[in-house]
């Protein structure tokens, strides 16, 4: 087996744990053999794609072997006239979409750092980005999958057709499982035709007009595919200081996007928003890429990002409540609010790294047991295990643990990352 023994284990460290070895199987068969061997030897495994979303969840309780999917990067089937593609899961999201773009297609995975982010890692993380409300989540585009289970069994589900109720939809279980049940080896997607044009509109969002502007945007006749209210996050086009920023993206035909722009100007003008900057073509796609990167961006060891999901109509209140709580604990708060999808991301930070741990631990403790629940999206490695990474609630924790046990009885895959540390009650409503 050629497992690229030259990989440096230190590059795969998590939570201060450095694996003994880092392996990079070059085929699904090799991957299965490696997993089987680790499982039999009782070695705990963490699967690595690009590592961009490894900040979700607790760090693994045990960690002996890193398995990189970097060499599993092939396109296995692409019948572009069917609008379906099958790829190995180590392929980067950027390369997946580059292949599709040659045929005028894409999958709206909205990966932060798409050049690094692997298809499998993105799916396993349960990530969904700012186009979720318009297009659906990454899992909604998965029409089939092949995984390697802990005992080395290769199991597939779904297929290469866009409508399929043949057997359980196991792909849903693998998506969002954070590599704790199986290794995603192959994913089949349905694709979409690329829009004719893309336009980004950036507008100032003064504090006093914020609530009204958000309501106007939610009611626009031509819906944007992305509608984000930014506060801070200068790297994504936001502004430091009090003034917020509205980031909208329209995708579709030229006629439609032009009409959308006219509607937008009158709507947000009516809400008291002064001026709009328009970006087209590559300027628009670059601006969107910077926005996506901001979701995962951490300011060294002095920041982390909370994520709160819920009803879009309550997103602003949830976002503000957390930002105010952070301010009370002497943390600087920036927010990224998905007006259509209802997700709120709040990045909290301190000026000095030395002050961060204590401040964020106070904030985290103060969030208490009441709803809404905030989960932590990325945290400095050394702080993760002391924080409420999964918030206060996990639905059906006993079922979650049972699933983990059935699929991975020896706890080979990232033990402790997900299920098994639930600090919550069975059957509680989300």
């Amino acid at each position: 087996m050629a497992l690229a023994p030259g990989l440096d284990p230190a590059a795969f460290a998590l939570g201060g744990k450095v694996p003994l070895r880092a392996l990079a199987p070059a085929s699904i068969e090799e991957l299965a053999a490696v997993v089987k061997a680790c499982n039999e030897a009782g070695e705990a495994v963490v699967v690595f794609g690009g590592g961009t979303l490894q900040g979700i969840g607790f760090s693994p309780a045990r960690y002996n072997i890193a398995i990189s999917t970097a060499r599993l990067d092939k396109v296995l089937e692409y019948e572009f006239r069917d609008l379906t593609i099958s790829v190995e899961c180590g392929r980067s999201v950027e390369r997946l979409n580059a292949t599709l773009a040659e045929r005028g297609q894409f999958v709206p995975l909205d990966a932060p750092s798409p050049g690094l982010s692997s298809v499998g890692g993105l799916l396993a993380s349960g990530w969904s980005g700012p186009r979720r409300a318009t297009f659906g989540r990454p899992r909604d585009f998965v029409i089939g999958s092949t995984v390697v289970l802990a005992d080395g069994t290769v199991a597939k589900a779904g297929g290469m057709v866009v409508k399929n109720v043949t057997g359980y939809d196991m792909s849903k279980l693998w998506c969002g499982s954070l590599g704790t049940l199986a290794v995603l080896a192959r994913a089949n997607f349905k694709t979409l035709p690329l829009p004719e044009t893309t336009r980004v509109a950036l507008a100032a969002l003064p504090e006093r007009t914020r609530r009204r502007a958000v309501e106007h945007v939610a009611a626009l006749d031509v819906e944007p595919s992305v509608a984000i209210a930014l506060h801070g996050f200068p790297e994504a086009g936001g502004r430091d200081g009090q003034e917020g920023r509205l980031f909208l993206m329209f995708e579709g035909s030229h006629t439609l996007v032009d009409r959308a722009t006219r509607d937008l100007r009158s709507a947000i003008g009516a809400a008291g928003v002064p001026e709009t900057t328009l970006l087209d073509g590559t300027a628009a796609t670059s601006a969107f890429a910077r926005l996506l990167d901001a979701y995962g961006a951490r300011l060294g060891e002095r920041s982390l990002t909370y994520r709160s999901c819920g009803l879009p109509g309550e997103a602003l209140s949830r976002c503000d409540a957390l930002a105010h709580a952070a301010t009370r604990h002497e943390l600087h708060a920036e927010s990224l609010l998905d007006i259509l999808g209802g997700d709120a991301y709040v990045r909290v930070s301190t000026k000095l790294t030395a002050e961060f741990a204590a401040a964020v631990e106070r904030l985290d403790a103060s969030l208490g047991t009441s709803s809404p629940t905030y989960t932590i999206f990325n945290a400095p490695e050394m702080l993760r295990d002391g924080l409420k990474m999964w918030g206060n609630e996990m639905t059906s924790p006993a079922t979650q643990r049972d699933i983990k046990h059935r699929f991975d009885p020896k706890a080979t895959f990232a033990p402790g990352r997900f299920a098994g540390r639930a600090n919550c009650s069975e059957g509680k409503r989300a």
Binding site: E79, F80, R81, D82, L83, T84, R103, G104, G126, G136, R137, R139, D140, T153, K156, A157, G159, V161, K163, N164, V165, T166, G167, Y168, D169, M170, K172, L173, C175, G176, S177, L181, L192, P193, A218, V222, S253, T255, L256, R259, C309, L311, P312, G313, G342, T375, G391, E393, M394, T395, S396, T399, Q400, R406, F407, A419, A422, E426, G427, A430
Partner: protein, 479 residues
């Protein structure tokens, strides 16, 4: 105390049916496998359902949830007897939140009723199986139903945000798509009642399109029409629906509805383009052009809302209108990659000929989702056997073309022995592991999905042959 006595005690006598004449109504669905349940219960709320499940599980009785019984694969048939849970009384829209575009419904809410309730707010529910006037959202969730608009809006799994369900011990759980943990919502949708009994469903609603155009193109034959569909999709165009009916279906439909479909054509293609007005207009032009290049004999756009609705009503009522020309018919549900549609239809035609059975085709072409209807007379034993054999041959042909054996009705009872043609024992064993988490005693809708014996130890009627077990649909089936 007997199971029935315990059910009476828990639910009251008006919610438990045990008389044979009452039970017989619940002995079959649109795939007619007749077997009387021990009892039928009509719960009023989730608590009632929880009581039923607890009692049934303790007594070792199978539990079979039932919506409207429109499924084609026997998913709602109590093949092992036991207790059928009918959701007829749990038919309320519990909440409709227009601002956030979502609704919470009980499982017995009829699909179309939700869209009607949402319409005053400018919203609708995406999945629209042709049975939407009678099929329930609970049943739709269980089978991950699709319908003509799945092409643009996706199937149930893309619209369910969370489910409340009863577990084997009678406890109520809630799975939410946005919750932390594994995606239980995703696996419960489409699990055909084998993982839990769903008591409430949170769904997302969509904004009604600003403009809708419905067009009809005539073709010389169904292969030409499906080649046009492959070309439209292959050109990167995804209208909201692409449906095909062949000549046999069109003549039955026209005799019944008089919607104005051309009866002299070999096949018609129904195209719906919904969206913003400017886009819909240019979309129609492009699609009409491709259709003509693929040999369309005519192209006609519906003049207004009334005509659009008539065209859709007759399309959705296609199977029902076959009653005029067929003593009985059997509907198959299979999917192929969209570029393989012409070959798939050719194979369907060859198989029907070889079995000396007339066949009609009405299907969700844009998704590659075939629905051949084999016409037969159930009083003729040889014809019944021929239909069973042709049905299986069609599934095998679709698999050979890279497709699968169910697009929107599930596996149910009918197709479970065919499942191993699609999945390896390892694939099925992974699914069985999941089932073991939720239902270790296999009392939730037993004998469904999983093949007998292969992975689950569900060998209960080994002496029966497939044809003995099949009692084919006696009409009234939906697709």
């Amino acid at each position: 105390m007997s199971t029935i006595a315990r059910l009476y005690e828990a639910l009251g006598s008006d919610a438990v049916l045990t008389a044979p004449e009452d039970l017989s109504v619940y002995a079959y669905d649109a795939y007619s496998q007749e077997r009387l349940p021990l009892a039928v219960v009509l719960p009023r709320d989730a608590r009632d359902v929880a009581d039923v499940v607890r009692i049934a599980y303790e007594c070792g009785e199978p539990i079979v949830p039932r919506g409207a019984g429109t499924g084609l694969c026997g998913g709602a048939v109590p093949v092992e007897g036991g207790i059928v849970i009918s959701f007829a009384r749990m038919n309320r829209v519990l909440a409709l939140d227009a601002r956030n575009r979502r609704a919470r419904v009980q499982p017995g809410v009829i699909n179309l009723e939700l869209s009607k309730a949402a319409a005053p707010f400018g919203l609708f529910f995406g999945p629209d199986p042709s049975s939407q006037k009678i099929s329930t959202l609970g049943g739709n969730t269980g089978t991950n139903a699709g319908g003509p608009h799945a092409l643009s809006y996706g199937s149930m799994t893309n619209h369910v945000l969370g489910v409340e369900y009863v577990r084997t011990d009678g406890s109520l759980s809630y799975a939410a798509l946005d919750g932390a943990g594994y995606d239980l919502t995703g696996v419960l949708v489409g699990s055909e009642g084998t993982l839990g009994v769903i008591t409430a469903i949170d769904v997302r609603l969509l904004r009604l399109p600003r403009s809708t155009r419905v067009c009809v193109a005539a073709f010389g034959d169904v292969e030409a029409a499906s080649a046009a569909v492959s070309a439209i999709v292959g050109a990167g165009l995804l209208p909201t629906a692409l449906e095909i009916m062949d000549k046999l279906i069109v003549s039955a439909v026209e005799a019944h509805y008089h919607a104005g479909y051309p009866t002299d054509a070999g096949a018609v293609l129904l195209v719906e383009i919904a969206g913003y007005p400017d886009d819909a207009e240019s979309g129609e032009r492009t699609i009409a052009q491709i259709a003509r290049e693929c040999g369309a004999l005519s192209w006609r756009a519906a003049a207004g809302a009334a005509e659009r609705e008539a065209l859709w009503a007759s399309r959705k009522g296609a199977a029902g209108s076959l009653g005029r020309i067929a003593p009985n018919y059997y509907i198959q549900d299979a999917t192929v990659p969209r570029t393989r549609l012409p070959q798939a239809l050719q194979r369907v035609d060859e198989i029907a000929r070889a079995h000396k059975l007339p066949v009609g085709n009405v299907f969700h072409a844009g998704d590659g989702n075939l629905h051949p209807l084999l016409i037969f007379d159930r009083r003729e034993r040889a014809q019944v056997d021929a239909v069973a054999s042709a049905g299986k041959a069609i599934l095998e042909a679709c698999i050979a073309l890279g497709g699968t054996i169910s697009g929107e009705h599930g596996i149910g009872y009918e197709k479970r022995e065919t499942l191993p043609l699609v999945f390896s024992p390892d694939d099925l064993a992974a699914m069985a592991r999941l089932r073991d988490v939720f239902d270790p005693k296999r009392l939730f809708n037993p004998e469904k999905i999983f093949p007998s014996g292969a992975v689950c130890g569900e060998v209960r009627n080994p002496a029966q042959t497939q044809s003995q077990r099949q009692t084919l649909a006696a009409g009234g089936a939906w697709l």
